[in-house]
Amino acid sequence: MSQSFDYSVVDGVLAELGTGESAVISILQHIQEHYRYLPREIFPYLSKKLGVSQARIYSVATFYENFALEPKGKFVIKVCDGTACHVRKSVPILERLRKELGLTEKKRTTDDLGFTVETVSCLGACGLAPVLTVNDKVYPGMTPDKAAALIEELKGEL
């Protein structure tokens, strides 16, 4: 366990959700909401508190798409590539965003931790396709140009 890591956030989450084995997913979700990813220091700590192996907790963290083990950017942009968005041309939007931010399919977060660009299978806002979200706010009817303009706007808020 790390001496320098402040476990007060994790303790707060455990106080709220308890230390039952079935709460693992909720606990990780709450921790990630705070840090925007799962810091590696939490695994041995949770293992001790919950009385389950680190491997078990780690297996959950790696199984589910939503958990990140690397820090994410301040603005997490999720481009919907569900069927409805896909047939209304969502891929050019994704490509433009990656181009504007110098990201690729592998490199998803900018070095200054400003932006993360990823895809999501469906946001359920199909009536407004193509859509993307920035930190869970939905932007409807996007185009590559609109997406580029949005990036410029968000850069001002960094």
Binding site: S22, V24, F63, E65, D81, R88, G124, G127, V138
Partner: protein, 625 residues
């Protein structure tokens, strides 16, 4: 208010029914995910501000003693007409205003609220015709809204309004007038089949759980609506959350379960919020919790948020996920009704199925049978999306034809293009084409043509869509979502995806189609769960109907729809090129050369077909196809 007896509940319903009726005018601003992202909450705030400025008494919450000349201001659930949002419905007239902006609010208050006048500019127009009222719009006229009846008509965050329109009457009836067997008999007789895709009779499932001699049992609601292009369940959870709770409680009462779990997709934060609100309201009112209305019946409700794994829509994976484990399916039998959540007998139904229950209990099995077809009674909600004029959420009787849905309700194909195909049932469904348009949509008739209703996503595709690319898209989706437990799905979908990728990249080989068919057969027969068993369906369906497109990609290295990037040809039309050199300056790989003021040319060997030159050319002389 805490309701302790049946009489308390009845009195509350009468009280709030009167309050609702006393509201002379109602403004319902759609607060579904779609309209909110188009800015409906700003419209709501502005309307309220304007009303207050003018001293009009507006009730944000339903009041026990309504004010004279009161205007009710409500955030409603999804109206389904997402394309036209933000939507504002104004009663008593039933006007529907579309694409409302903050700047329109003043006119709405002045003309409509104060003057009762209709604003034509904001109404829905189709082919030059103005539709004043919501019910007159063709999109709504052909629908039968039973499950979605309250969505868009009441405040989704108010238990008072739900009670005011007769909410929790079914629970009352079930608690005081029926026993478990009677409830199950009604559900069985109604012929209600699971709306999640399988179409398994709900009454049968419930009776199997009831028959188990275990003390602990669970009711689980599958709200992990993972099919891309489907959002029926999201709209129910957001727009009428109490209805879902009521349905689940009735199931608990019938089967002898005291705890319920709702598993909601991570991508639906608002559904989680609305359900949480509804649960705490129902608890505070004594309709959920210990000893409901003094009957001795207790029920506890939990919400679990998914963490982004499509496979968790599968029953045993979903229960594993609730238990805090990796969401991986297991071998069946034993089935969920015997060994489900925490290894106990479990009723697992989806949102729409539970939402159908309250009205069935209230109005009886025969009433439900009067909708739909003999084998598939009732209605079905569909999410209508893709290249279609009116996208949105619809509900029609089972047995409605695709033609009615796409052309009458959906308004036909967008931008006057031709209909090509419709993908039904998401990545595990199949595609239907022109000749299937008059097929009645129900569980059984679709199976005959190799399709399935699935959860209800309908993605319409026009003639500019490449079916091979669509199949590759679905294959990519299922491959990504394969949990990796069983070999046929983990390895088989990967091999299929590789072949599909080669074909759309122009590296397809003779024999690829046969290999795909063979792999499809193998995976469908040997995979562990529904995800794997149906993974190949999109490929099979597109090969069946569009084999010529596959062959064009493989043999001629040509994409008939002109969509596949790698098979695209980009050239400069010499007659139209003015020689401005803008294309050459924008080309990232220096594939374009020429002399200024003379036509430029593209070196096909260097070109990466990125399309930068097409966008750059001010004279539209760079063509692609």
């Amino acid at each position: 208010m805490h309701l302790k007896t049946r009489e308390d509940l009845r009195a509350a319903r009468v009280l709030y029914g009167k309050s609702l009726a006393a509201q002379e005018k109602k403004i319902l601003v759609c607060a579904g995910t779609g309209c909110i992202s188009s800015g409906s909450l700003d419209v709501y705030d502005r309307l309220r501000e304007l009303m207050e400025e003018r001293g009009i008494h507006c009730a944000v919450r339903l009041e026990e003693e309504p004010h004279e000349h009161e205007v009710g201001m409500k955030k409603s659930g999804c109206h389904g007409f997402c394309e036209m949002g933000p939507l504002v419905r104004i009663e008593p007239w039933g006007y529907l205003y579309t694409k409302v902006k903050v700047a329109d609010c003043e006119e709405i208050v002045e003309k409509t609220i104060l003057g009762g006048e209709h604003i034509e500019r904001l109404a829905y127009h189709q082919n030059g015709k103005v539709f004043e009222k919501q019910d007159e719009i063709p999109f709504y006229q052909k629908q039968t809204r039973l499950v979605l009846e309250h969505c868009g008509h009441i405040d989704a965050t108010s238990i008072e309004e739900y009670l005011g329109i007769g909410g929790y009457t079914a629970l009352e009836k079930a608690l005081f007038e029926m026993d478990g067997d009677a409830i199950i008999r009604t559900v069985t007789d109604s012929g209600l089949r699971g709306r999640g895709g399988g179409g398994f009779p709900a009454g049968k499932k419930w009776s199997q759980v009831k028959a188990q001699k275990t003390e602990e049992k669970y009711i689980v609601c599958n709200g992990d609506e993972g099919d891309p292009g489907a959002f029926m369940d999201r709209s129910i959870m957001e727009g009428d959350p109490h209805r879902l709770l009521e349905g689940m409680m009735i199931a608990g009462l019938a089967c002898g379960a005291a705890e319920g779990y709702i598993y909601v997709r991570a991508e639906y934060p608002m559904a989680v919020e609305r359900l949480r609100t509804a649960i705490s309201q129902a608890e505070a009112w004594g309709l959920l919790g210990e000893n409901v209305l003094g009957t001795g019946f207790s029920f506890k409700m939990h919400i679990n948020r998914g963490a982004g794994a499509f496979v968790c829509g599968e029953g045993s994976a979903l229960t594993a996920s609730i238990e805090g484990k990796r969401g991986m399916p297991r071998v069946k039998p034993p089935r969920t009704v015997e060994h489900g959540l925490f290894d106990k007998p479990t009723v697992l139904n989806n949102v729409e199925t539970f939402a159908n229950v309250p009205r069935i209990i209230r109005e009886g099995a025969e009433w439900f049978q009067s909708f739909g077809t003999a084998g598939s009674p009732g209605t079905k909600a569909f999410a209508l999306t893709g290249n279609i004029e009116n996208t949105g959420l619809i509900e029609v009787p089972m047995g409605t034809t695709l033609r009615e849905i796409i052309f009458d309700i959906g308004g036909g194909i967008k931008d006057g293009k031709e209909f090509k195909a419709v993908q039904i049932g998401g990545p595990s469904g199949g595609c239907l084409i022109e000749t299937n348009l008059d097929l009645p949509l129900d569980f059984d008739s679709l199976k005959k043509v190799g399709g399935m209703i699935g959860s209800g996503g309908l993605v319409v595709m026009d003639d500019s869509t490449c079916m091979v690319e669509v199949a590759r898209f679905f294959m990519n989706f299922t491959q990504n979502e394969s949990c990796g437990k069983c070999v046929p799905c983990r390895e088989g979908t990967r091999r299929m995806l590789e072949i599909m990728e080669r074909i759309v990249d122009g590296r397809g080989e003779e024999g690829d189609i046969e290999t795909l068919l063979e792999l499809s057969d193998m995976i469908s027969n040997t995979a562990l769960c529904g995800l794997g068993k149906t993974a190949a369906f999109p490929v099979l369906g597109t090969i069946r109907y569009f084999r010529d497109e596959y062959e064009a990609h493989i043999r001629e290295k040509r994409c008939p729809a002109g969509q596949c990037q790698k098979l695209k040809r980009i050239w400069i039309e010499a007659d139209e090129c003015k020689g401005c050199s803008k294309c050459a300056r924008n080309c990232p790989v220096n594939a374009i050369t020429g002399k200024v003021k003379e036509p430029f040319t593209i070196d096909a060997n260097k070109c990466i077909k990125c399309g930068a030159c097409v966008e750059a050319c001010p004279f539209h002389a760079v063509k692609e196809g």
